[in-house]
């Protein structure tokens, strides 16, 4: 009972995250590309309820940030409060590529800015970029994991089940894929693509490539399990009764690798979401000005950002509960598989 409610909680949490990312345009006060060159690396705006005389006001409000002398230090200009309004008009955005609207959940009048999570190096609102970035990152993680696991499962089962020549060939291919300098391939790939691939297209291509290259590890693990599962007594018995290969795979092998698969999925999704940090290190991340979680984290490679701009860690902070939720889901699916199976039916 406790486990099921934990699973339900994580499902709800994931749904909330995915929904808010889907409706990123509405929930974010600014466009993800809008630069404010006066406010690079501005810390999060504090929301006040009590003005400086000590009197509470009806609306929460913010003060305008101005630069202090000495470069990139900011202080509040406490002379004028700017109220936070709901359902403000702002930059236009599209939802799901279809509906266009320009109302945002909240906002303030210019020249004040409400940077809930501070701003990045160009003065762009990090909160907005987080929401829009989730679209790319979460999607990328899922797509790449899907590719990897599909290929890995198919080839791993083939290798383990049939053994002999297929096993040898597939395993040598695994080693080939693991040994090749993918660094080079990825670097070269970007140089070969026509210049007019949009950044999102180029990134999708990379993610597919990573997913396709990554099948090697799961395939190896799965093949190992299948090899031993193949020799189990009940399988040999079923075979002697004339069961076809497909039946054996479906009913006897797949359940054996289910645990492995779920663990792999729970591990791969966050790894692929963050693969972009490494890609950005090599200069292959998603292109400007499109945001992504890995790209925001990648700015932390610069020393000055790492030690003083703590708000750039926020994608990591969002990812922790997301990963925990995926982990809980994967655990629950393994442990309650019979219960969940009945529940789904």
């Amino acid at each position: 009972m406790k486990r099921v409610s934990l699973m339900v909680m994580s499902l709800i949490f994931l749904a909330v995250i995915h929904l808010s990312v889907f409706f990123a345009g509405f929930f974010s006060p600014y466009d993800y590309a809008a630069q404010d060159r006066e406010l690079p690396y501005c810390p999060p705006t504090s929301i006040h309820w009590v003005n400086k005389e000590g009197r509470p006001l009806w609306h929460p409000f913010v003060y305008r940030w101005v630069e202090r002398a000495g470069g990139q230090r900011y202080q509040e200009d406490q002379r004028t409060p700017y109220s936070i309004h709901a359902l403000t008009r702002g930059a236009k955005y599209t939802v799901g590529g279809m509906v266009t609207w320009d109302r945002h959940l909240f906002g303030v009048d210019p020249p004040a800015r409400v940077f809930l999570m501070g701003s990045d190096g160009y003065g762009r609102d990090l909160f907005s970029r987080l929401l829009f970035g989730g679209q790319i990152s979460l999607f990328a993680g899922l797509v790449a994991t899907l590719f990897t696991l599909t290929f890995g499962v198919i080839l791993g089962i083939l290798a383990g089940f049939y053994g002999g020549w297929p096993d040898a060939i597939i395993m040598r291919c695994v080693e080939l894929f693991l040994a090749l300098p993918w660094l080079y391939l990825l670097l070269a790939l970007r140089g070969l693509l026509p210049l007019h691939t949009s950044p999102a297209q180029a990134f999708l291509l990379f993610i597919i490539v990573i997913g396709l290259v990554g099948w090697a590890r799961p395939a190896r693990l799965i093949r190992g399990v299948v090899l031993s599962a193949k020799e189990r007594k009940h399988l040999l018995a079923a075979r002697s009764f004339g069961a076809s290969d497909l039946y054996l795979v479906r009913c006897h092998i797949l359940p054996e690798i289910r645990g492995l698969l779920l663990t792999q999925a729970a591990l791969l999704i966050p790894q692929y979401v963050l693969a972009e940090v490494t890609l950005s290190f090599l200069g292959l991340g998603v292109g400007e000005p499109v945001p992504s979680w890995g790209g925001i984290l990648a700015t932390l490679q610069q020393y000055h950002v790492l030690i003083s701009k703590w708000w750039m860690f926020s994608p990591g902070l969002i990812l922790i509960p997301v990963i925990l939720s995926y982990g809980v889901l994967s655990n629950s699916l393994q442990e309650n598989r019979s219960q969940v199976g009945r529940w789904i039916e």
């Binding site: 690079p40 470069g71 160009y122 970007r190 210049l195 950044p199 200069g283 000005p289 610069q302």
Partner: protein, 591 residues
């Protein structure tokens, strides 16, 4: 035989504006001190060692094949040249050659070597070594990178020995500031390299694994030890020819250790932790961080003003394009219109770029000569401020208009104006500049894509295949003198990036620039040269061959216990006077 008087005037002018009592001579003097400023401080003992970080590993110790920055930095400490450009005053001064005479037709330079010079292994230097060195550099089969800089109008200079201490160089025709040609052309030891050269094995000589006694040079330090991946150590050259005012033989420090740091952030970490003594080329953001820590860590930071590096947005104006590049050809119709380029230049927020990319530690530029180049900067030229309305007027005049519903810019055929900018993915700064340009031009209704490419892919596209539309790149002059930029600004030059190696200049203004550059190369009067070079800069502002963006300031740092530290705009910024540097703590003890 006579020395131009204007040279003297220029020298006196600059000598007056410098704070130290350094001599600035264009002719060369017989002062045995031979250059550099007189050191302010002298140590009590000669036992100290300096620790410096390099951002990449040196690859070789052979001056003939070294092409990367780190190798040249290390080799620069181990070798010396005949006539040296003082990095601080930016003027040439005598080095191994104690004086030189110029013939009346300005085509022959007769150099007299100092007496009693020895290589770091004790072998004596004479004119045969000089002749051998130049023979090696000029040999086409050896293919040394130095060969191209020793060409005067396609013809290499020739060298002839007169007697054991005198050599004569002959130029094909008069060449302005010809003595700058000799800077960083290291004199090689004949006794160690002649055999390898005659056997054709010169290019394999002097690798990092060579035993130290097989390498010799005339620089302040000599090779001691190399540990792969970790460090390279140089020790004091006991036969170094420079002395300080009291007659003590330089260098003051006993050793220099070069550590390998990988990238700038790693270098900052080690500098902050006190593991290195000097840091070169700090980025603006890290400079800010170090400033906070300065007092507690005992560091001194220096902002030397704008560097010689210039960054620009360049358009593909090539006449030869790869097959199937119809799209690019179509867009070249826009790029070739000077009003389009002027409009773009007028729309870019250089101040904002300076603030974002360099944290305000930079200077917007409108020509390739940055304000840091004090000798050649044209301060009187008019530099236009940012104006979007001016851009719109220019675009209207060029036949562009705006679509009603979304404000997209369209040309006279109704095609929306969109193009891509490629940048080097390893340069954060240039990618940031491209992003800022992207945002600025979106206000004009132009949609841009920023495509970071790996550096070699970028070079391939710009220099070889010409398969690109626009690019943001940066170049470093290397030297302040205009002659160092010939290959970039001559239309036939290989580095004439937007249209390399043209057979004929494609436009009238390019022909004019060619004429001016060639003329200044053979003019000797500095005032005339400056006038010609000013005109080149004015043409750059009018015709906008490339859109110049910003120049960064040069930011360096050192421990405050480092004495005689005088960083300069010219490379090597921090170690050009390494023979005078030493570490001394408050008690006066030398480390």
């Amino acid at each position: 035989m006579k020395v131009p008087i204007s040279m003297w005037l220029l020298a006196l002018l600059l000598a007056g504006s410098l704070s130290s009592a350094g001599f600035a001579s264009a002719k060369g003097s017989t002062n045995p001190q031979g250059g550099g400023l007189v050191p302010d401080n002298q140590p009590s003992a000669y036992s100290g060692h300096l620790v410096v970080a390099l951002r990449s590993e040196p690859k070789t110790l052979n001056p003939v094949i070294a092409s990367d920055i780190s190798s040249r930095e290390v080799i620069g400490q181990m070798t010396a040249d005949l006539i040296h450009i003082n990095r601080y005053t930016q003027l040439s001064e005598s080095a191994l050659a104690k004086s030189w005479k110029v013939s009346s037709d300005e085509r022959r330079y007769t150099l007299e070597l100092r007496h009693g010079l020895r290589f770091s292994d004790g072998a004596p230097l004479d004119a045969d070594d000089v002749v051998f060195s130049f023979r090696v550099y000029l040999d086409e089969k050896v293919n040394a990178p130095q060969r191209d800089s020793l060409l005067v109008g396609e013809t290499p200079i020739t060298v002839r020995k007169v007697d054991t201490n005198t050599v004569t160089f002959a130029l094909a025709r008069p060449y302005a500031s010809a003595e700058r040609l000799f800077d960083s052309v290291a004199i090689l030891p004949r006794h160690l390299l002649e055999r390898a050269y005659s056997e054709g094995k010169l290019l394999q000589a002097w690798t990092l694994n060579t035993p130290p006694d097989r390498i010799a040079g005339l620089g302040p330090f000599r090779f001691k030890e190399y540990v792969p991946g970790q460090r390279l150590i140089l020790e004091r050259n006991p036969y170094y020819w420079k002395q300080d005012r009291s007659g003590n033989r330089l260098p003051y420090s006993a050793e220099i250790t070069f550590l390998f740091a990988g990238n700038e952030d790693a270098e900052v970490l080690r500098f902050e932790a006190g593991e290195t003594d000097i840091m070169n080329r700090i980025s603006a953001a890290n400079y800010f961080v170090l400033q906070q820590e300065r007092a507690s860590r005992g560091l001194q930071l220096y902002d030397l003003g704008p560097d010689l590096e210039y960054n620009f947005l360049l358009f593909n104006l090539n006449s030869t394009l790869p097959a199937g590049a119809g799209e690019i050809r179509r867009k070249q119709q826009w790029f070739n219109d000077v009003r389009f380029r002027q409009a773009i230049s007028s729309a870019i927020d250089r101040e904002g770029m300076n603030r974002i990319v360099y944290h305000g530690r930079g200077a917007p530029i409108w020509t390739h000569v940055s304000p840091g180049n004090r000798l050649w900067f044209d301060s009187s030229a008019r530099r236009p401020a940012r104006s979007l309305s001016h851009s719109r007027d220019l675009l209207k005049a060029a036949g562009f208009s705006w679509r009603e519903n979304d404000g997209t810019l369209i040309d006279h055929r109704g095609v929306p104006v969109e193009f891509s900018i490629i940048t080097s993915s390893s340069s954060n700064e240039r990618t940031e500049m491209a992003t800022i340009i992207q945002q600025d031009l979106s206000e004009l209704g132009i949609r841009l894509q920023v495509v970071p490419l790996e550096f070699h892919s970028l070079l391939d596209r710009v220099l070889e295949t010409h398969d690109y539309e626009a690019a943001v790149m940066g170049l470093d002059g290397g030297d302040v003198d205009p002659n160092s930029q010939m290959n970039v600004w001559l239309s036939s030059g290989d580095d004439h990036l937007w249209n390399p190696a043209e057979a004929h200049p494609a436009t009238g203004w390019e022909a004019e620039i060619d004429r001016l550059m060639r003329q200044q190369m053979s003019t000797s009067a500095p005032r005339d040269r400056k006038r010609l070079y000013d005109r080149v800069q004015e043409i750059e502002i009018e015709e906008v061959p490339v859109v110049f963006l910003v120049s960064p300031n040069l930011l360096v740092g050192a421990k405050d216990q480092l004495r005689n530290f005088k960083p300069a705009i010219l490379d090597s910024h921090t170690l050009w006077n390494s023979e005078q540097l030493f570490i001394q703590d408050r008690t006066g003890a030398v480390r």
